[in-house]
Symmetry: C2
Subunit: 494 residues, 2 copies
């Protein structure tokens, strides 16, 4: 191993102890966790591979209820979106007469024109102007405020899904471990993962399970006072609405309280609103943080970051990776730095940008594609609503399980009362009890859910998150299988 070059007389340092990368990984990397694709998901993928190779397992299929991935479980894409994309990718197809509805062709032509026929080129790092215009108009229509100053294309940044946008925003906020980011407990693990990865500290605030996972301002106050008493500087407040994993939908009044609290305390608000189309209760419609922010003139300088996505809602185009952040009440200096950061990755993928533009500007009444589009969206919405109800009802009816009703999003997050012997068995294995529960469920049934410890929960309580996404035809069977297994589990550890 002696270097040939050493024969030349150059001032190499004496051989040091060899640097081993794998033993020297940065602590921020080692310590963060991301449960949605963690131990359970990796094991589930392994089982799926074994089954595809013909292995004999106690189940003949793996059902991935660990992640909100609708198309994986059979939800179909919206026809209009895909037709337009196929034309944009392959404009030669416009020559085929009678294949595409007129509005599909017009839309494809419009998008092609808006990027000089070069959908293969990098776009502006913020996203195509045309797509950002669609976002801005969507926000005006959603919030019923047509004032063009209500929202600006210059405050909207497209991204490869909401997750990278959230991470980029946190990069601009976190400046050392004293910087605290307030996140709900339970929360989507992107937050508990990203904050330590970026060198900051998570400040948890508890959602109130007994009040359908409500967000209580007293609890926010407790958490921030506690954080400051530990020498932290709380910098930002994350709110997920509708809630993941809780399915809770916040009222306008609650959002107003939250925004005033954040303003008073000098916090930046991150409003994760990717489930805004997934509100199933007529009495609990979605209220946007943006609109409530606008309604309180006193807090105009409160920085609000609102995130949206094409992965959820009724679109479910997770694999396309598309989303945006809109920044309200934010200094020019922040915009400048965010733009620079975004430009380092050149641009979000253009197909994801166009799907976002399509989702936010779908066919209108009178358009040739409208009837089919509406039928598809309604079928998906009604089915999701129905499945949310069935999952909640079934789980809540089982011994040892208590499930709050999810009014929105794509999940249920039931509380499980584990027998003392199960807790002892888990302790012996060195596993969290809810992890052991979910591992046994996977090993014995092929159902993959995520333990509550990945999302955060009150100490001594146990939960798991399951999506509501198996299609109706399969869902009953899944729930039946789960119920049978759960009974056996309780009996085993009784």
């Amino acid at each position: 191993m002696l270097p040939r070059l050493a024969s030349r007389s150059r001032p190499f340092l004496a051989t040091q102890k060899r640097y081993k990368w794998g033993s020297n990984l940065p602590p921020n990397i080692l310590k963060f966790q991301y449960a949605v694709r963690g131990e359970l998901a990796i094991k589930a993928s392994h089982y799926e591979k074994l089954l595809s190779e013909g292995a004999k397992l106690p189940f003949d299929r793996v059902t991935f209820c660990n992640i909100g991935n609708p198309h994986q479980l059979g939800q179909k894409p919206i026809t209009f979106y895909r037709q337009v994309i196929s034309l944009v990718e392959n404009p030669e197809l416009m020559k085929q007469t009678g294949v595409f509805p007129k509005d599909v062709i017009e839309r494809a032509q419009h998008y092609l024109k808006s990027c000089n026929n070069a959908t293969g080129a990098y776009s502006d790092s913020r996203g195509l102007l045309e797509a950002r215009k669609a976002v801005a108009q969507f926000i005006r229509d959603r919030d019923g405020i047509q004032d063009p100053n209500y929202t600006s294309v210059d405050h909207i940044y497209l991204s490869n899904g909401a997750s990278p946008a959230i991470q980029d925003c946190l990069k601009l906020i976190i400046n050392g471990e004293k910087d605290g980011i307030m996140i709900p407990i339970p929360q989507y693990p992107l937050y508990s993962g990203s904050v330590p990865l970026l060198g900051g500290t998570s400040v948890g605030y508890y959602l109130d399970e007994d009040k359908q996972w409500g967000l209580n301002i007293d609890e926010l106050s407790r958490a921030i006072v506690d954080a400051r008493s530990h020498g932290l500087r709380p910098r930002a407040l994350v709110v997920i609405n509708p809630g993941n994993p809780t399915g809770s939908c916040l009222s306008t009044e609650n959002i107003a309280e939250i925004l005033k609290f954040a303003h008073r305390e000098g916090l930046i608000v991150l409003a994760d609103e990717v489930y805004q189309r997934n509100c199933y209760e007529a009495g609990k419609p979605f209220s946007s943080f943006k609109k409530v922010h606008h309604s309180i003139p006193d807090i105009a300088d409160l920085p609000l970051l609102s995130f949206h996505s094409i992965s959820k809602g009724l679109t479910g185009e997770c694999g396309k990776r598309g989303g945006y952040v809109e920044m309200t009440g934010v200094d020019a200096a922040v915009h400048e730095q965010y733009y620079k950061l975004a430009s380092m990755s050149l641009c979000p993928n253009v197909v994801g940008q166009l799907i976002l533009a399509l989702q936010l500007n779908p066919p209108k009444a009178g358009d040739p594609s409208y009837a089919l589009f509406r039928q598809e969206e309604e079928a998906i919405f009604n089915s999701l609503k129905n499945r949310a109800h069935i999952v909640w009802k079934t789980l809540n009816g089982l011994e040892g399980i208590e499930c709050q009703k999810p009014d929105g999003a794509l999940y249920a997050f039931p509380k499980i009362t584990l027998p003392r012997k199960a807790i002892e068995a888990a302790t012996k294995l060195g596993k969290a009890p809810d992890v052991m529960y979910c591992l046994e469920l996977l090993d014995e049934t092929g159902l993959c859910v995520v333990p509550g410890s990945g999302f955060g929960q009150v100490k001594g309580t146990f939960h798991f998150r399951t999506t509501i996404l198996p299609l109706e035809a399969h869902l009953e069977q899944v729930l039946h299988k789960f119920a049978e297994w759960h009974k056996k589990f309780l009996a085993k550890y009784q």
Copy 2:
């Protein structure tokens, strides 16, 4: 602004000095620079917007030679790739007889099957198995080593282009400002941008302009000794081959020297090989770092990270965002952490993954699409080669400009000898002289190039980077316009 909630008796801290986000951005964010989309590019976009609004400027179009974005300047996509994607997006089109060649349909069916007909679903965080298989087979074919152990799908991670993969790898390497990353001068600014952003320190090594920007091992030694004498821990060595912005293609022997140096010094090697299809000189073919690594048994434990992309080569699908990193000689612990990091962003976009699979596994002789595919690729290759030659020849013929011949990649990086008065004028403006040169060029001609200071250069020398990408029909005009302007600039400051 007094909070209503303050009337409740809760322990809020006394109002502190209000935290202003824009004045408190993290220093790592503020200090990094990314010149390719910096001041010049932003101004150029602004001019383009003004022109589209009918403004009168000294030019009637902006020509973006600041970024390797082939489709933006008129390069057409490869038909086969786009046909397959249009079918995958919209499988209903398979019913149209006589529209798609047989191999297009078969390929689309194959990809659809490989993701259970759900291209809208999140894939494995590493990328679709089918796409990773295409990468692995491509590497075996490229390097002429068919041993299946030569490369493994488990060591390949797909990404939204090479840039995010490079940044993710650096996250796993950099653990504080003492960690040095060796980068060439000149280099692609992703590196000089990412290293300080991630909290590390760049250690520059100079390429030898007089030897066609060659990479000299003596200079690597000088740089690492110098870095260590300043208390740094050099951790990794970045090599861009073919070079960006230099166009230099490394020989097999040179790569062997570099790898042995890295092994001896305990460095991780990042081989940025995104221009591997862009080698224009028959006598200087592309040599992969992977193959040379394999040929030296003594260095089997040297970590090598090789990056590739769909944005460059003959594909130019920049907007699709697709690429990969292959990791060789890397511990399981590194794989585990990289996988976790990748999973936080769920997956790279699936269309980009499929374009990558297509690029690396294109039609073969005998396939119905082969003739057209080959014709398209050859036309692009020959045209790029021709344009590289024309740009070099023209620039090198101008007074005050000396341009090394680019044997590869998509750029020329000429040295400009600026008159003393120009340097004085720039100093008065508080601008680097090459920045002033490029700004005047943009203001007066609409040509957008990037100053050498964005890439790094020997102190007291000045350069700029221009792409060779304007199509032939336009290129002569662009070069003529540049030459006229350059003469005027010299005269102005004589």
